[in-house]
């Protein structure tokens, strides 16, 4: 019987290697897999490349712990606050930064999951983010060539999931979760609720279990206030 549900955080985190690219989902605190990030902090992998919408706020929270412990080599994000720990480490040159327009970040992740190797997008043409990139006019618009962004590991937060790893999200907890789940070799999901197989509506499953390797039940915790 297929059963992707694991019983401990150790099991959920096993095998994450130093040097991994880790996709961390969520937008703000909503849909952000806080328990799994904490699990990664404890797991100990170093020299990580973190892909996340933003670099976080301030110096608190588990994402900041990864930076504080000098575990992050590079961050790929669309939004970096100067006041965040990640922002400070980038400023002093301790962490490498790749900044990507938000829609391009989403599309590069979606490309990875769906076997598209690269794509031409009008976003960023003529701006600093296009510097050094191949450009081409297509259909009368200048476009930038952007490449699929692959993860070794994705950390995902679902609202309800079953033993196949099928999942549904809640409200804006969806955001990057479905596309990051499909873009990594090892996708680890925390879910606030477990469902029996067959209980989730076939018309409304947002992440099919094929994209998910491990599910851990974290039965508490609405997102903290923004």
């Amino acid at each position: 019987m297929i059963n992707k549900i694991v019983r401990s955080m150790d099991e959920a985190m096993s095998g994450i290697q130093d040097g991994s690219t880790v996709l961390i989902a969520g937008f703000g605190h909503v849909g952000q897999p806080i328990a799994l990030i904490q699990g990664l902090v404890e797991q100990g992998a170093r020299d990580l490349t973190i892909v996340s919408n933003s670099g976080g706020r301030g110096h608190t929270g588990p994402l900041a712990r990864l930076f504080e412990q000098d575990r992050v080599r590079k961050i790929i994000c669309s939004f970096l606050r100067a006041s965040s720990l990640a922002g400070e480490l980038v400023r002093v040159g301790k962490v490498e930064l790749e900044v990507v327009p938000q829609g391009t970040l989403a599309e590069r992740l979606r490309a990875s999951g769906s076997g598209v190797q690269a794509f031409f997008t009008p976003t960023g043409a003529g701006t600093k983010v296009a510097e050094g990139k191949e450009t081409r006019e297509i259909g009368g618009r200048e476009c930038v060539l952007e490449y699929a962004l692959h993860g070794d590991v994705a950390l995902i937060e679902a609202w309800r999931a079953d033993r196949w790893g099928n999942a549904m999200y809640r409200a804006t907890g969806r955001s990057y979760n479905p596309i990051m789940a499909a873009a990594a070799k090892l996708t680890i999901m925390q879910t606030q609720h477990l469902a029996e197989l067959g209980e989730l509506d076939s018309e409304a499953i947002t992440t099919p279990g094929i994209y998910v390797n491990r599910v851990i039940h974290v039965p508490y915790g609405d997102p903290p206030p923004p």
Partner: protein, 219 residues
């Protein structure tokens, strides 16, 4: 500057938002950027149905909820609690930005540091090598939306022009802005540059020009 504003009262933030809100049309799909643009939603004339997009995955975003109605899973792109319009749906990030980049939104209203007379927009960084860049979704909105309106103070706090001949800050998009709402005027971006289509009572065109680096034209 000889022009004065003795009798003219610049719009405050709410009045700027209300002025822009007047021009939103029934049935439009609209994205409102962070800051003053967010306020536009509060000033839509009643009975006019406008559908709001939030790039973190809402189409049909409603106003801020009362404290007892807050859903901690329902935030906008500024990480503020919001509600839903009836008919709302959720989108994942690739679908949400596919909608933006694909040209389906009728309008976005963004803040800006500078807008140039050719429609260039600068709103994400104030230096060439900003160590903490905050691009977010602005570049996608700028290239993807049918109309791009900017809502901003006409000048910086220390009096420098934001309505300029050419942007000196890093660009968000080239030639994308179609209209600018400031605390002093409403300007269309046209083939011949900025055209003044509205101005606050008591302010002369000359006084407006004195606060504007770009050349202003009359309709």
């Amino acid at each position: 500057m000889s022009a004065t504003m003795a009798t003219a009262k610049p719009l405050n933030r709410a009045a700027m938002a209300a002025r822009a809100a007047q021009d939103l049309r029934e049935g439009w799909y609209v994205n409102l950027g962070i800051g003053i643009p967010t306020l536009v939603a509060d000033h839509i004339p009643s009975g006019r149905e406008v559908i709001f997009h939030s790039e973190n995955g809402i189409l049909g975003m409603g106003p801020a909820p009362s404290p007892d109605q807050v859903d901690p899973w329902l935030i906008n792109a500024s990480s503020q609690y919001v509600s839903l319009q009836p008919g709302a749906c959720f989108l994942h990030h690739a679908d949400s930005f596919g909608l933006v980049r694909g040209g389906h939104l009728d309008l976005c209203v963004l803040g800006a540091y500078q807008v140039a007379e050719n429609g260039d927009l600068a709103n994400w960084a104030m230096t060439e090598n900003d160590p903490a860049p905050q691009i977010g979704g602005a570049m996608d909105l700028a290239v993807g939306t049918k109309e791009v309106w900017v809502l901003m103070e006409h000048t910086t706090k220390d009096g420098r022009a934001r309505v300029v001949h050419q942007c000196t800050y890093p660009l968000t998009g080239r030639g994308v802005v179609t209209r600018v709402y400031t605390n002093l005027a409403v300007l269309d971006v046209t083939g011949r540059g900025f055209v003044v289509i509205d101005i606050i009572p008591g302010l002369t065109i000359e006084a407006l020009q004195a606060r504007t680096e770009a050349k202003l034209h009359l309709p």
